[in-house]
Symmetry: C2
Subunit: 401 residues, 2 copies
């Protein structure tokens, strides 16, 4: 396996640190728009086949050329979702398989954005599924932690715990605190704004996909791992688009434990138009307001040493067990920031995101996971994946409610 | 009198509309960085001596040159307070008198910003007072509505209503609503952020000037003119720096009726660092986050036709009356947006700001107000000013509490 990792930001750098302890690849090219950042990420790992490269991820031909230069077999996309399509297309043109951790972006319905879907997350990628399938190539989409591990949990629940699933509801929350800042998100604020202010999507078996109001239906969820109660709201997320394609359920939702302060911040950004990505003219220049918001906040990947607490990703499943009795189970994965910083020098949220595509690559390299077309993580057997998670030193858990 | 008005924004354009109905000047040059905006402001008023010009207000030599070109006797500064010093210095170098509606900017105390003053509002201007006085020239600073009319009210109270003043507290509030926007400030958001997030300054006779926490000591004040109760908080404002220099009082404060929603927005902007003026790098360009916030919001001067409600500026004075009995009086001025739009085509807040320097220019032209040095509005007799306000069709009022 010859990997091209696109993006040496927080998640990309963490993936390098994790992959560097494994042996499933011959070559691991780390590309970034900023060559120095790629070089810093591979530094010390050159003997294991790591190489840094410069790449404009917005250019599919540039992705293709870099794949060809290094004989790449698998492209792992670790940049923000604006760049999904050029990397996806660039990998395809080079004959490489493809993995990402977020899918192509949605566009709201023009007239009824808060009740009907427009262009959905991943639609552009699924539109190309036939081409990938015909050529026997694999695009494994949404293979981070959420989407990713959360989808694996859904598949595990369907295969091993339930005879009937009423609802699969992803619940994500944490109690991470960054010392020394009034406000410091623990994940890319660009992506957080994107997913939190877009119309959240819900799937129901008798209705299909539909949308609702951003930040709606607040619910307090009690997270394990010492995290406790956090206010969760509906958020647009890939699991809702992926799970119903492979896992039978009556309803699929995603609720994000933003907490009250973050919810208020997002509402204010929207009110002021600062969530917008379209450029505005400011003096003599044009800038995207959302990029300015991100530029004003500290880089979450660089805050690990100031952070305390844990992050939890998990899948809440309700339905009937193998005997037909009512069952509610929360399958989850907790990462403590102190552990991830000590073990890998990565903060908890980016480490938790990065470990999953590395495991997926290892399963693909070994032929344990095989497939063609555009597939989600729930299209594969969950057990070998979950076993690897334990083997990587970061076990998953299960709580019966 | 030959006037140079610097700035054809909301307040500048309103000042043109008001001055165009008066006859105290021979020439009225309206200068703006954007010549088209200046031309639009003077359009139709050319026969009365109005002339448009292009000017970079950040350049004192450019101000001086434009003054000389037109034989200017009085410069009226109607741009945001970042440009006070170049216009003030440029007018001085040209031998012209000077008026503004906001004073040179403050800088917080380096170590104890929320208890001690650093560089105060107007300090840079008062440092030049000797030069202006020696040359017999006048810089009349803070001559809008607040500061401006509010200072005139303080002087009137001291001269005609009180034998002893315990506190002079400016109270500003309104009930303006802009239809069709989630959030649309009725005044320059750049200036509002500046004055609301700087440490508010307070003056006490036995302590001098000191500062406190931004947005502190919330108080509900019942405004007249149908406005009603609005939450007011301490805000940095020029009156607190001006009034104690000429009017004897034990304490001087300023509280702004921001309302809860605006206070929350300001707190969030501060938390995210979006109130900052120093440029941040965003992609390949550098921008000031506060300028981006302003660029994302609609231009308040252009919203008059969508606005309803009134704005109230006033001065609350407590102490003892001429007989030594306790007295509390609120002297105030209300402008109804419907009236100002119908009469002048200007929204209420900019009209209320603009009328005051026009009156001051008329009093100076007639020699009713005379003075030299750097002086505030309270250095002059209040009665002729307040009489002019009535004559201009916008009477002031008085409420005994």
């Amino acid at each position: 396996m010859r990997v091209l990792l696109v993006g040496a930001g927080g998640v990309g750098a963490a993936a390098v640190g994790i992959a560097a302890r494994r042996d499933f690849y011959e070559r691991f090219v780390v590309a970034d728009r900023d060559l120095a950042r790629a070089q810093a990420a591979v530094s010390g790992h050159e003997p294991k086949g790591f190489v840094a490269a410069e790449l404009d991820a917005s250019s599919a031909p540039a992705v293709t050329a870099l794949c060809r230069e290094h004989g790449i077999t698998h492209v792992l996309n670790a940049v923000d979702p604006r760049f999904v399509m050029p990397i996806f297309d660039g990998a395809h043109a080079a004959g490489a398989d493809y993995l990402d951790m977020a899918m192509s972006l949605s566009r709201p319905h023009a007239e009824q954005p808060y009740s009907l879907t427009g262009v959905k997350l991943g639609d552009e990628q699924f539109a190309a599924a036939g081409r990938w399938l015909d050529e026997g190539r694999l695009a494994l989409v949404g293979m981070g932690v959420e989407p990713g591990l959360s989808d694996v949990f859904a598949r595990y629940a369907a295969d091993h715990l339930f005879s009937r699933i009423d609802e699969i509801g992803i619940r994500d929350g944490g109690n991470l605190v960054v010392a020394g800042y009034d406000f410091a998100p623990s994940f890319s604020v660009w992506t957080t704004i994107e997913e939190c202010l877009n119309p959240p999507v819900i799937w129901e078996a008798d209705r299909g996909w539909f949308t609702t109001e951003p930040l709606s239906e607040p619910e307090v969820f009690d997270f394990p791992g010492g995290i406790g109660e956090v206010e969760c709201v509906h958020v647009e997320h890939e699991e809702v688009l992926l799970i119903p394609r492979w896992v039978p359920a009556r309803r699929v939702t995603f609720k994000y434990g933003l907490g009250k302060e973050f919810i208020d911040v997002l509402k204010t950004l929207r009110k002021l138009g600062l969530d917008r990505t379209a450029p505005v003219k400011v003096g003599g220049v044009s800038v995207s307001p959302r990029d300015v918001v991100a530029a004003c906040l500290p880089d979450p990947a660089a805050l690990g040493h100031r952070m305390t607490g844990s992050t939890c990703a998990g899948t809440l499943v309700t339905g009937a067990d193998r005997d037909g009795d009512p069952l509610t189970v929360y399958l989850y994965h907790v990462v403590d920031n102190e552990w991830s910083m000590r073990e890998y020098g990565s903060q908890a949220v980016v480490w938790q995101t990065a470990v999953n595509p590395v495991i997926a690559l290892e399963l693909l390299a070994a032929g344990v996971w095989q497939g063609a077309g555009v597939l989600g993580p729930e299209a594969f057997d969950a057990v070998p994946f979950l076993d690897k998670l334990v083997e990587y030193g970061s076990p998953w858990q299960l709580r019966e409610q």
